[in-house]
Every structure is written in C-alpha cells, then in structure tokens.
Amino acid sequence: MTCSEFMKELTDYLDNTMDQHTRAEVEDHLQWCHNCYVVCNTTKRTIEIYRDFQVFELPDDLRNRLRTAIISKCKQHKSTTDA
C-alpha cells in the first residue's frame, strides 16, 4: 500500500468500517511509514478532542428558558388544533 492509497482509506480506517484484508494492509503500512502514522494519529486526536471538549455548551439557565418557551408554544399549538 502506498501513502496515497493509505490516505484514501484513512476515514474508513478511523471509523472501523473496512474489511479485514484492507485493515491488515493499512496496519502493515502504518508499521513502517512514520508520516502516515503521524497523520493517522493526529487526525484521530482531532476527532477525539472535538468530541471531548464540547465547544458550544447550553448553559442551564438558557436551557430552562428555551424549554419553557418551547413547551408553552407546543401547548398553544395543541389548544388551537384541539379546538
């Protein structure tokens, strides 16, 4: 497997959605190609870091305010459709 072939497989490899044969080829390539190993590892870290550090949190007070507004509008909608 060449580096360029490896790059085409990277996403499926990280998502664990490839057949065993291709996976073995990818892992063999990673054994000896340091550059691809680093790209693979840092791409994996990119995904993990975004998953672990949620950039946009919904603060509790805003969350409660939004939910109250949503539920009140739903009740309003229900009362007009029930009528």
Binding site: C3, S4, E5, M7, K8, L10, T11, D12, Y13, L14, D15, N16, T17, E27, L30, N35, Y37, V38, V39, C40, N41, T42, T43, K44, R45, T46, I47, E48, I49, Y50, R51, D52, F53, Q54, V55, F56, E57, L58, L62, R63, L66, R67, A69, I70, I71, K73, C74, K75, H77, K78, D82
Partner: protein, 208 residues
C-alpha cells in the same frame, strides 16, 4: 491504532413510546424528547449559524416544528435524525437571512483531492490538554472549526461531534453517502492541518 469509539448517543428503546405519546398530543412526553436532545440541537445550530441568537431561535423553532409535524414522522428513521434534519434546515435558513450575499448550500462543488498527503506532518507533543488550559483549548477549537467552510463543518459536527452514522448524516443533510464520506475526509484533514499550528511538537523538544 484503535478505531474511535463513540461517546455520544442515547438510549432509544423507550423513544418510540415517547414519540407516539407526543404524536397523540402528550406535551409531557415531548418535553422529555426536548430534554434529551436540546443540547445537541443547540450545538449543531451554533456551529452552522455561528451566531448565538440564531442558535437559540433554531432550538425553539426546530422543536416546535417537530411537534407540529410529528404526524408526518414515519418512524422509518430515528426521531433524532429527523429532528437534526429540521434543525439543519432552520439553521441554513437563518444563515441565508443573515448573509444573503453568500452562497449557502451543503451541496456546493467540493474538490475531493483524495489521496493527497497533508503538507505538514508533525506529531503533537505534549498533549494539547497539557499545553493549554481548558478555556484556551476551547477557544482554539472554536476558532478553528468556525474557519472551516459550511459544508465541511456541518458534516464534521454531525458525524464526529454528534456521532450520527454516515447514513444518518446523509439523510439529515440530504447528501449521498459518498458525498458525506468525501466531505468528512476533507473536513477532518483540514481541521487537523489547522490545529497543527497550535499542537505540533515545539522546536527544541527532542523527546521522541
């Protein structure tokens, strides 16, 4: 190297019961669905619109629209995927309204360039968590993903942050599966490249 394990997800066993009850007008059941997914909808909306007020409006409008249209939800897909689709459309609508001059589409032509190696290959050392405080790290992550073109950041957020499957992401964004895969690939590599400048091994650090 191990594949990435999903840390996001919620039990869906009782979900169809809640959805059925909400469809029959049970607002309490719908409130439980709101509690389950409001944070996800807010994050998705904020990532797409890049505007806090718009994201707040999207949360309200997406859930209200979902409640009003539950009769049309067939149950062929997950409720969450259906809700995300509504939230994405609401977000895009607000983005168009705020930036009418921009082309706002998830289907714009994307050069795939699959198979090309990144220009800069450098290991990350020490760990970003050791290099930066939590607040600094969040700032870097936020700035970096906000600089990504719409189509890439949307696919990345749905697939990698909110952990929808490739098929669910395709359904939520009305894209083909190959289109989701190629955009995801580009998004991951672009983010990696951009984070590299903050996280790469510092000069003078000789540890292997």
């Amino acid at each position: 190297m191990e594949a990435i394990e999903s840390k996001v997800g919620s039990p869906v066993s009782d979900e169809s019961v809640l959805v059925d009850a909400a469809r029959n007008g049970d607002v309490g059941a719908f409130e439980q669905l709101v509690r389950r997914y409001d944070r996800n909808v807010f994050r998705i909306a904020q990532h797409i619109t890049q505007n806090r007020e718009d994201a707040e409006d999207v949360v309200q409008d997406a859930f209200l629209k979902a409640f009003q249209n539950l009769g049309q939800f067939q149950g062929k897909s997950k409720f969450y995927t259906w809700l995300v689709r509504i939230a994405v459309n609401e977000s895009l609508m607000r983005l168009r309204r705020r930036h009418p001059e921009r082309m706002v589409s998830l289907d714009e032509g994307v050069k795939t360039e699959e198979g090309s190696m990144p220009r800069e290959v450098a290991d990350w050392y020490p760990n970003p968590e050791q290099l930066y405080s939590q607040a600094e790290l969040k700032g870097i992550l936020s700035k970096t993903i906000q600089g990504l073109p719409l189509v890439f950041r949307t696919v990345f957020v749905l697939r990698d942050v909110e952990a929808l499957s490739t098929e669910e992401t395709a359904e939520a964004l009305n894209l083909s599966i190959p289109a989701v895969k190629s955009r995801l690939m580009r998004a991951r590599l672009k983010l990696r490249d951009r984070l590299n400048k903050y996280f790469k091994r510092r000069n003078g650090d000789s540890r292997q």
